[in-house]
């Protein structure tokens, strides 16, 4: 008989996925306690990932063979600093977003569907955590589809407030499925060449082939994966599904998905480009540097300009999200320590800022009923805490000193200069200028206009909505002042991805 606590500690990596999976299925059975149940599940998952993170931070990394099958036969979970960090971000945001979801969901979704909502919600989190923790390429595809399918359903649940949630969800479903199919094809071609699905083993097999860049099968695999991943992480110009999906989804869903789903897409790109193909193949032998940098830079500018023209604050932030993905992609495409670290730091910083801002807009929708610029007018007087959160988040998007956005842009600009790309450094700064303009539109409406319509009668949102929002925005400011934890972790993780090891 094995002691219970030993059973837990020995199977930590499996529990991170199994707990929300079973929890999600059981959420349909717990009646009106679905929210409490989801909070407990996501809270425990957060504690589990924290334990994993501290274990990995001290030691060399962890390996876990699922079902005790040797790793080339079965599925292996492999945890290093990179995915432990992403796991911590995803589970932390999921926990905070679940607390926030209670009132927002009661307001926006009919009561008879709450159980299904939380069930699908937990399954989406399962998929996102699973993609991050697994070391098996096909497992990535399956979990990707689990998270994508549940997110399509979550977005479609916004239909009671605006029927356009349905068309947005279907558009995302079609493009998302094509993207995932491309990833599946890429994995298939890799399987043909290497005969394995284990990521580390794939890398070893590819390294053993001296003429890998001449092998057409590998080139096809690389092309399919690059396009599929770009679709999934909404890299310009493959971002067209994103703005409407974020705008019409229920508030809690937008906050959670915006903060985690595209970030996990970026993590997949890290794994495929750096861990499987390796630095040399991806960035020395292939022109991926140029393709990714051009898409990212053009995306930063065009989505910034589009964001300025929006009259709906949620859509404005959605376009801004595509631009931020541009920063993240530009960072890792530079493939130097500062760039990759900036990219990783920005994954966390943007998740905290944008998650918090979408939550604040959800609070506005809760009190005022909409998120148009008109609804924001005079908000500074009526809902000071919510307006303060939006303002602090906007400062972060601009990259104002003392916010987390400043830290990531600092590293990204350093990375661009180290890579000798003056034009990219200029684009990053120009993108901040565009962020000033679109953020100012919101700030001007909130503080320099008189409230009208429903906003005039609005009072501050309930604490169940404001506190989670302030928690996320607070985190983004705390890690802007004291960046030792995020930047230190990111630099270490970046060094492990690049040749030359720890610097």
């Amino acid at each position: 008989m094995i002691p219970f606590n030993e059973l837990i500690t020995d199977n930590l990596p499996a529990l991170v996925v199994v707990l929300p999976l079973l929890g999600g299925l059981l959420a349909t059975l717990v009646g009106r306690f679905a929210w409490l149940w989801s909070t407990i599940i996501t809270g425990s998952v957060f504690l589990l990932t924290y334990t994993l993170f501290t274990a990995v931070q001290a030691g060399p990394g962890m390996r876990y063979e699922f079902g005790n099958w040797p790793y080339l036969w079965g599925i292996e979970y492999r945890i290093d600093l990179l995915n432990a960090f992403i796991l911590l971000v995803v589970s932390g945001i999921a926990f905070i977003a679940t607390i926030y979801a209670k009132l927002s969901v009661e307001d926006e979704i009919p009561a008879d569907r709450h159980n299904f909502f939380y069930s699908v919600w937990l399954l989406a989190i399962t998929g996102l955590l699973g993609i991050t923790i697994t070391g098996d390429a096909f497992n990535v595809y399956v979990l990707l589809e689990i998270s994508s399918l549940t997110i399509y359903a979550l977005i479609a649940m916004g239909k009671d407030r605006d029927p356009r949630a349905l068309t947005a969800s279907l558009r995302y479903l079609i493009l998302g499925s094509v993207g995932a199919s491309f990833i599946l094809l890429g994995i298939g071609y890799l399987l043909m060449v290497t005969g394995t699905l284990n990521m580390a083993d794939m890398h070893a097999q590819l390294m053993a082939m001296p003429e890998a860049t001449q092998n057409r099968t590998i080139l096809v695999a690389f092309a399919f994966l690059l396009v599929g991943l770009s679709l999934k992480m909404a890299l310009f110009p493959l971002h067209t599904w994103l703005p409407k999906a974020y705008t019409y989804a229920p508030s809690a869903v937008t906050a959670m998905v915006a903060a985690t789903a595209t970030k996990v897409g970026v993590y997949m790109a890290f794994r495929f480009l750096f861990t499987i193909f390796g630095y040399k193949f991806t960035f020395v032998d292939m022109p991926s540097y140029h393709i990714l940098i051009i898409c990212a830079a053009v995306g930063i500018i065009i989505t910034g300009l589009t964001a300025i023209r929006q009259t709906n604050a949620k859509k404005l932030l959605a376009y801004s999200s595509v631009g931020q993905i541009g920063y993240i992609v530009a960072g890792f495409a530079l493939a130097n320590p500062q760039g990759v670290a900036g990219s990783l730091v920005h994954i966390f910083n943007h998740a905290a800022m944008k998650g918090g801002m979408f939550m604040a807009l959800g609070a506005v929708a809760y009190r005022v009923g909409g998120t148009n610029m008109k609804d924001l007018r005079g908000l500074g007087k009526r809902m000071p805490l919510t307006a303060g959160c939006i303002t602090a988040g906007a400062l972060g998007l601009i990259g104002f000193p003392m916010t987390a956005g400043f830290i990531s842009k600092w590293y990204l600009v350093q990375g661009a200069l180290a890579g000798g790309s003056w034009l990219l450094a200029f684009t990053i700064l120009f993108g901040s200028l565009l962020a000033v303009i679109y953020s100012w539109k919101m700030i001007e409406a909130m503080y320099f206009r008189e409230p009208e319509g429903k906003t005039a009668e609005a009072t501050e949102a309930p604490y169940m909505l404001v506190l989670p929002t302030m928690a996320l925005i607070g985190l983004s400011i705390y890690f802007g002042i004291n960046a030792e934890f995020t930047a230190g972790t990111a630099l270490k993780a970046a060094a492990a991805l690049l040749p030359g090891g720890v610097q």
């Binding site: 096909f138 094509v178 094809l185």
Partner: protein
């Protein structure tokens, strides 16, 4: 020439996938798009199953001797096809069915909310909604 014809199942996979991809991008009816998406994925199943074939291989089943029920080494064929891609495709088929189910559920709801499943008409309705919102915002 014979090399090209021998791998005809790969040609079928590419044609099937391209027909599906064309349908997803070009068809204006949502149901047709969903069908095309299914076709696109079926092409990928065929690709995986084709890659599993080993020259002279048979189905990967360990044949027991009929009378004694003891594995007979002589009855074991020289080569087995690779069963791994088959197993992967079982999972992918389930995923494909789920995608189709979610897509059809959303399309039913679109029909209820908008009264049409034609892409062009939906775009027109959405444009009108957006124009109305823009007018309200300008006030």
């Amino acid at each position: 020439m014979s090399d090209v014809l021998e791998i005809y199942n790969y040609w079928i996979y590419i044609v099937l996938m391209m027909v599906g991809f064309y349908g997803v991008m070009a068809k204006r009816n949502l149901i047709k798009q969903a069908i095309a998406l299914g076709l696109f994925q079926t092409g990928i199943f065929l690709f995986y199953i084709s890659m599993a074939v080993v020259d002279g291989g048979t189905a990967p089943i360990w044949m027991a001797d009929g009378a004694t029920k003891v594995p007979n080494p002589l009855a074991v064929p020289a080569a087995f096809d690779n069963p791994l891609p088959h197993v992967l495709m079982l999972t992918a088929i389930v995923v494909g069915v789920s995608i189709l189910a979610v897509a059809l559920a959303i399309i039913i709801n679109i029909r209820r909310a908008f009264g049409t499943i034609e892409y062009d008409e939906l775009t027109k309705i959405e444009r009108e909604m957006e124009a109305r919102e823009a007018r309200e915002a300008a006030q």
